[in-house]
Every structure is written in structure tokens, then in C-alpha cells.
Amino acid sequence: MKKLEERIFKFLMIGSTALILSLLLYILYIILMKGLPSLSWEMISQIPSGGFYLGKEGGILNAIMGSLYLIFFSVLISLCISVPVVMYLNFTLRRKSKLAAIARLTFDVLFGIPSIVYGAFGFTVMIYFGLQASLFGGIIAITLLIIPVMIRSIDEVAILIPNELIEATKSLGATNYETIKVVTRQLLPGISTAVLLSIGRGIGDAATVLFTAGYTDSIPSSLLQPTASLPLAIFFQLSSPIEEVQNRAYSAALVLTIIILILSFSARYFSRRLSKNKI
């Protein structure tokens, strides 16, 4: 009887593990099979021309470039905020500090806030300052979204740095700032993984950019112009009744998935290679 129960549950456990694994493969398979037929060089190298949304020529270069602009600037800004925050929490404050504990809780909560709320909030702020949907608005919203991702992910590595390293540097007469410069080297794998993670989170999110960045057929040439983005290109084209346009949504989905997979694998690669510097 005891054995039977264990056997049933073991069967169920292996079954559900296999199910989750096959779900991943199934999702990738469907996206690949649907996206591949209409994926072409034209698709990713041209901006939409007249009649694009009726199934005529053009590509999604506007969305690809838009997404790249958005994510590049957002990551840059969030790095300037996240790295100092992690440094402060780990190397300036004491390990058992109250402020650090509250800060970590706050970032955990911020991490859990859905992107639609960031989008709605970003939009309200933009209205307050009289801004239209623009590249700038999108950058702000995505920055807010990825700061907690970045902080949490760098913090995970920073917390593992041995206290002795910090004490050794300080005992040699280094100031706090100089200690941080030394420790940064140890943090590089964490930072690069965090950057890749937040690119993945930011580039794939539609709800934040829906109101803040808008949508347009051209590549933006200034911060105040609206910009297209990949997730929205997929979302809008899929809702079209015309088949060619829908097919384009599938291949745009494939492009986005490939970007995400590359990011995910390089995150793994980087964190393994750079961790050789670890002590």
C-alpha cells in the first residue's frame, strides 16, 4: 500500500515534469513552424510601405529598430541607477542594516508590479508634463520596469561576495568608493547577466509601451517622436483580418523569440565564463 502510493505519485511527478518540458518545446515548435514560411530578408530590412497593412510590401524594420532604441537607452539609464543601489546596499551599509532590508523588500514588490501599471503610471506622468506618446516616454516606462529586475539580479551576486574581501581592501586604507571599484570586478558576471535578463524582459513587454511609446511606420529620428516596437507589431498585426498581415505577425513573433533565445543562452554563457574571476 505504501509502495503503491509512492509509485503513483512518482509517475505523476515524472509526468508533470515531462509535460512542462514538452510545453516549452511545443511553444517553440509552433512559433517556428508558423513564423518561418513568411520570414524573409525583406521582412526584417524594410519599413512598412504603402498598403503594408493590406498585405503589400514592406517589413518590420521600424519595430525592430524601435525596440532596439527603447531597450538600449532604458538599459543604459537603469545601469546608472541599479549598480550604485546594489553597491550601496551591499558595501556601504552594514550587512544587517534595516534600510537594506526594507530596500530589498521594496524592490521585490516593485518587481511584482505588472507592466500595465507601469504603463498607466508612465502615461499619467507624461500627460502631467504635456508629453505625447514618444520614444522618450517608452524609455522612461521600460526603465521603471527593468530597474527592479536589474537590482535583484545584481544583488543576488553581490550578496555572495565574501566580507573578507571588503575588509581586506578597507584595512589597506581604501575609502569606501575605492573598495567598490575593487569589488566591481567580482560583480561583472552578475552585471552582465542582469543586463541580458533585463533586455529580455524589456524588449518583450507590450503593456508598458502600449500607451507610452505609441506606434508608427517610420524609424524615430528624435526622442520626442513615437516609435514602433516588436511586441506591439505582433499584437497589432495579429488582430488584422487579412491573412498576409497575420502571417507577418507570426514571423515577427519568431524574430522576437530568436532574440530572446539568444539573450538567454548568452546570459548563461557569460555567467559561466566570467565567474572564473570569482574567488
Partner: protein
């Protein structure tokens, strides 16, 4: 020389403190911002009327959120009831039974799944789940369903929250000290009895925390749900009916809200509602998880 170094140190310290406080302040700012924006509608209608009536006619000034709230609960409920058993079984297997090699391989599967953007899940859902429901599943139960339904939303959401639940559960189960397992086995318990009576029982707070976190994630998920749910303003009668969760409402109506009085305030109220519930849920479950971490570290 020393003066210069100290000045640099002071500047760095001030900068770090400022950005830390500022980025923590974002949480307060979002809450206050959304609340201020939603105050006009709360004052006009009263909180209870807003959440308990289901009349939604923005052009006439009727804003009842009940059907959106019910839809959100519906979809979330379906998602949790699918995701929780699967995640529990899987994470117990991975932590207690599987070899370290499988553990490592499976962590990458979880990472990959959690990295896939919502919009891709949405595309996948419209291609697979929606036709499956309308052609295969629904005809057995109801006369007609387009497939764009609460069930489709629930299934897609389930798949999206599974990686979140599993990664927390793996940590929670891993935090149970090895000695406890050994003590149980040395008293003659089988492996399964140990898992059931020691590991799972010890982990109940952690499991609850994981579920609460997953619920709050499911509440806020927008695009994927929006793509498969049908978005029809009415109280859903069965899981095969279209539904319209709160985040989808916000996302769909942002374009037109500027022209209608009070519409913006109503949508901001929806956003504030989401924000408030999610913050409360997150704070509770994070504190539980931190306690678990502390208890076993000492």
C-alpha cells in the same frame, strides 16, 4: 591627495544614497499618482458601487467594475488550479528525486519559459489553445464557443506562472535542512513518507507564499490574456464564455479615454485596484519567504 580621495568618496556615497532612496520612492509615487487620478470617480460613485455593480457604459457615466473583477478572479482561479498541482509535483520530483544533472537541465527549462515574452504566449495561445477549445473541448459541454474564453486565458496564464511557482518552490524545498530528511528516514519512513510528512509539511508557508505571488502575477498579466480572452463585457456564465479581466480593460480603452469625462479616472481606478492588491499580496508573501530564509540560515 587624501582630501581628493575623501571628496570622491563622499560624492559617491551621496549619489548612491540618493538613487537608492529615489528608486524606492517609485513605489510610493506610483501608488499616490494612481490614487490621486482615481479619486474623482471614487468620490462620485463610492468605492462599493464601483466594485459591486456591473453596468459599464462610459458614455452615460456608468462605471461598474464587477464583471471585470469577476473575470479577473475567474481567469486567475483557473490558472492557479492548473499550475499549482503541476508545479508542486514537478518541483518535488526535481528537488527530491532527480539527479543533479536533471536539476541543472531543468533550471534552464524554467529560465527559458519565464523568459518568453507574454505576447509570444498570446500568439501561441491563439494558435493552439483557442482552436482546441472551440473545436474539440467546448462542443462536449456547451453549444457554441469561439474558443476565446476564460478557459483559454486561464490555460495560457497557467503556463506563464508555472516557471514562477516552480522556481520559488525549488528554493523553498531546497531550504528544508537535510538533517530533517535524514532523521525521518532513520526512523524508518520511506522516501515518499518523508517527502509528504516532513518536506511538504515544513514548506507549507513557502508554498502559500508562492501561490500568493503567482496570483498577483496572474492578476496583472495583460497582453497574453487580452489576446485569448475574447474581451466581452458581461459576467461570464461558464468557462467557455468570453471574459474581460481588468488589465485587458485598461489596455484596450486607453486610446479613447481622453474624450469621455471620468473615463480616465475610471481606468486609473482599475490600475490602482490592481496595484493595491498586488502590493499587499507581494509584501505578505515576500515577508514569509524572507522568514523562511532566515529560519534555516541560523
Amino acid at each position: 591627495m587624501l582630501k581628493g580621495r575623501l571628496r570622491k568618496d563622499r560624492i559617491a556615497r551621496h549619489y548612491m544614497l540618493t538613487v537608492t532612496i529615489l528608486s524606492m520612492f517609485v513605489l510610493v509615487l506610483i501608488g499616490v499618482g494612481l490614487l490621486v487620478k482615481s479619486l474623482p470617480i471614487i468620490q462620485e460613485k463610492g468605492l462599493w458601487t464601483l466594485v459591486s455593480t456591473s453596468n459599464w457604459r462610459p458614455f452615460k457615466g456608468d462605471f461598474g467594475f464587477a464583471s471585470y473583477i469577476v473575470s479577473t478572479l475567474y481567469v486567475t482561479g483557473i490558472a492557479i488550479s492548473i499550475a499549482l498541482p503541476l508545479s508542486l509535483l514537478t518541483s518535488i520530483y526535481i528537488i527530491e528525486y532527480a539527479s543533479p544533472k536533471i536539476l541543472r537541465a531543468f533550471s534552464s527549462v524554467v529560465d527559458l519559459l519565464s523568459g518568453i515574452p507574454p505576447v509570444i504566449y498570446g500568439v501561441w495561445g491563439t494558435l493552439t489553445i483557442v482552436p482546441f477549445i472551440s473545436e474539440t473541448l467546448a462542443p462536449h459541454f456547451v453549444e457554441f464557443s469561439t474558443g476565446y474564453s476564460a478557459l483559454a486565458g486561464g490555460v495560457v496564464l497557467a503556463i506563464m506562472i508555472i516557471p514562477l511557482i516552480i522556481s520559488i518552490l525549488m528554493e523553498v524545498f531546497g531550504a528544508v535542512p537535510k538533517e530533517m530528511r535524514e532523521a525521518s528516514m532513520s526512523l524508518g519512513a520511506t522516501k515518499w513518507q518523508t517527502v509528504k510528512k516532513v518536506v511538504v509539511r515544513k514548506s507549507i508557508p513557502g508554498i502559500v507564499a508562492a501561490v500568493v505571488l503567482a496570483i498577483s502575477r496572474a492578476f496583472g498579466e495583460t497582453i497574453a490574456v487580452l489576446m485569448v480572452c475574447g474581451n466581452f463585457t458581461d459576467l461570464p456564465k461558464s468557462i467557455f464564455d468570453a471574459c474581460y479581466p481588468l488589465p485587458a480593460l485598461i489596455a484596450n480603452n486607453y486610446g479613447e479615454m481622453m474624450s469621455v469625462p471620468k473615463y480616465e479616472s475610471a481606468l486609473m481606478f482599475a490600475a490602482f485596484l490592481l496595484f493595491f492588491i498586488i502590493v499587499v499580496f507581494n509584501v505578505i508573501s515576500r515577508i514569509v519567504l524572507i522568514q523562511i530564509d532566515k529560519r534555516y540560515q541560523l
